[in-house]
Symmetry: C2
């Protein structure tokens, strides 16, 4: 049996929930969960924002832990390995995307918390192909957010071959954006943070930005015409995207990893004159995650987190909902005050 | 003096117009015009659609002819050289774009028919950097449309490193689209023509398409989900772009070389799930034009044209306005019935 925390109704508080996961699949891994980050999409699923939720719903898809046991066909992971699991818990392994290392674009991809149960639990299962070993020196309390928020902002740097000579802007300094600043700083880029929050300016500069711009000030945007090779938008706000296109250099790219609440309204002429592009991408492949972890380890890049014991998991979710978290919320699933769980402690290295 | 045909008022008929071009600039070339294609943007300028026209206005920017004389500093072109001139007649030669071979993206680029006079004339001037020599074996009557319409659809193949293994769709089989089909066929791609005109289906198949799809049939688009690596849109119509995004493979690109009359309305989620992109581009650099000409020569690619003598230049423009031209309109500026001109004949090879 797996001891989890589940929402029983849309937007409901999480309550202890025990379920029988059945026999372990031959290609699966069962992870003893140590820490699990909370992502905005956990909240979206709990609230059934996308109409894809079924209840009881066990969210949690920024999982760090150790392999408890592996299926009969799993040869690359072993009990005791320290691993992480993100938004995807399985791939078809047969489509063109899977066959070319683009598993995150698999058309039959299996999200960790849609149609299966996630990491707000003592254990979670996933296909071995989706479970990525952790570098030995990583801080386990902080590693979880790398597996969804982190890879979401890191993967575009791989996908579009961002150069250290590039000037890159990041819109929104929150859970995703603050990790983007850290990655881009280590990547060698000239980094600008676009934020509407004056209270985040000092943090943004400390985390890797060389410049900050008020994201809501049209005059500031106009002053930065023809400046950026790439802008990563991490926000769900609907900004003046035409003004942002104006800040791109010729051949520049406005790339979305956050989903604005309103459809983009784009004049083609704003793209055409200087051959600009608008694009978007979801998380990353397991290999991209491994590449990110090695880079993060080598550059000592860690998310900024607020850590909650699992007994306070509902407080943790409320903290995320408040928009006040600095900058990512993680739940300690090993905490002794987790009375309902019979967890064993995580093997440390 | 240069003998031209000019619009004297917005949307007015062209009438003979003689002007003094002044001394030839040291970096300039004067071209004896043999043939000049008519492009939709000539009509837009004649009609002052963009608010950038001043009158008398001499349009014409798909020029083929021979070098009449060169400025003192011009060393790469010589009198008698067969050359062409497209949408751009000059570049700043100093910006990053010019310094990296991206002259068509120069922020101070000089269009051939904005603020200067174009190719509906016996002679036209342009900076030597914008004038491209013609291959010896090219058909002069048909070469003009390559210099604007042709390069506009060819350049994306270079810019995005289109592979012969790619499946490419072309929306709109007109002046631009028909050249795209021919280029893509020679490029080795699997080519699909999207057209709303049943009368163009046979032509599209003859010109290089392996498949045609009714561009206005939602069911046909739905049947082709996950099919194309690249779609080039050449139309000014506002189609169901979300449906077209659905026909792209993961990592596919919807690229605009035509400007829809209405702004695009795009849901980021339609881009994000499979890392798709929307982009647009204008014509190409002089080097890209030279590359295109060599490719067109090697593969015997020629635009399909309707040829008008210059005395019927207004009929030629009306023919373009009618939307009935198959597929590009060219004016013969050497025609003997050009009574108002004292043109000399073009050197043939």
């Amino acid at each position: 049996m797996i001891n989890a925390y589940a929402a029983m109704t849309p937007a409901g508080s999480l309550v202890p929930f025990t379920y029988d996961p059945g026999p372990l699949g031959s290609d699966e891994v069962e992870i003893q969960v140590a820490y699990c980050g909370i992502c905005q999409s956990d909240v979206s699923m709990i609230d059934n924002e996308w109409g894809r939720s079924s209840y009881p719903l066990v969210a949690g898809h920024e999982v760090v832990g150790s392999v408890a046991r592996v299926g009969a066909a799993v040869s690359t992971l072993h009990a005791g390995d320290q691993v992480g699991l993100g938004w995807h818990a399985g791939y078809c392994m047969q489509c063109t995307q899977c066959a070319t290392g683009e598993h995150n674009l698999c058309l039959a991809v299996q999200p960790t918390i849609i149609g299966r149960h996630g990491g707000f639990a003592d254990r979670v299962r996933a296909a071995a192909a989706s479970v990525v070993p952790l570098p030995a020196d990583i801080d386990l309390t902080r590693a979880g957010p790398l597996f969804c928020g982190g890879i979401t902002v890191f993967n575009p740097l791989l996908q579009y071959a961002v150069q250290p000579t590039d000037r890159v802007g990041v819109i929104g300094i929150g859970g995703l954006g603050h990790m983007a600043l850290k990655f881009l700083k280590a990547w060698g880029c000239d980094v600008t943070a676009f934020t509407s929050s004056a209270s985040k300016v000092d943090d943004a500069l400390a985390m890797g930005a060389s410049h900050t711009i008020d994201s809501t000030d049209p005059a500031a945007l106009a002053r930065h015409a023809n400046t950026f090779d790439l802008i990563l938008s991490t926000v769900d706000a609907s900004l003046d995207w035409g003004a942002y296109l104006g800040t791109l250099k010729p051949k520049g790219r406005l790339h979305f990893v956050g989903i604005p609440t309103q459809a983009l309204e784009l004049n083609v002429i704003a793209l055409l004159r200087s051959q600009k592009a608008v694009s978007a991408s979801p998380v990353g492949s397991p290999q991209a995650i491994a590449t990110m972890l090695a880079f993060a380890s080598r550059h000592a890049i860690q998310p900024e987190i607020e850590l909650f014991p699992v007994a306070r998991i509902n407080d943790a979710i409320e903290r995320l909902r408040s928009g006040q978290a600095r900058y990512r919320v993680v739940v300690d699933m090993t905490a002794s005050n987790n009375a309902g769980f019979s967890s064993t402690s995580l093997r440390q290295g």
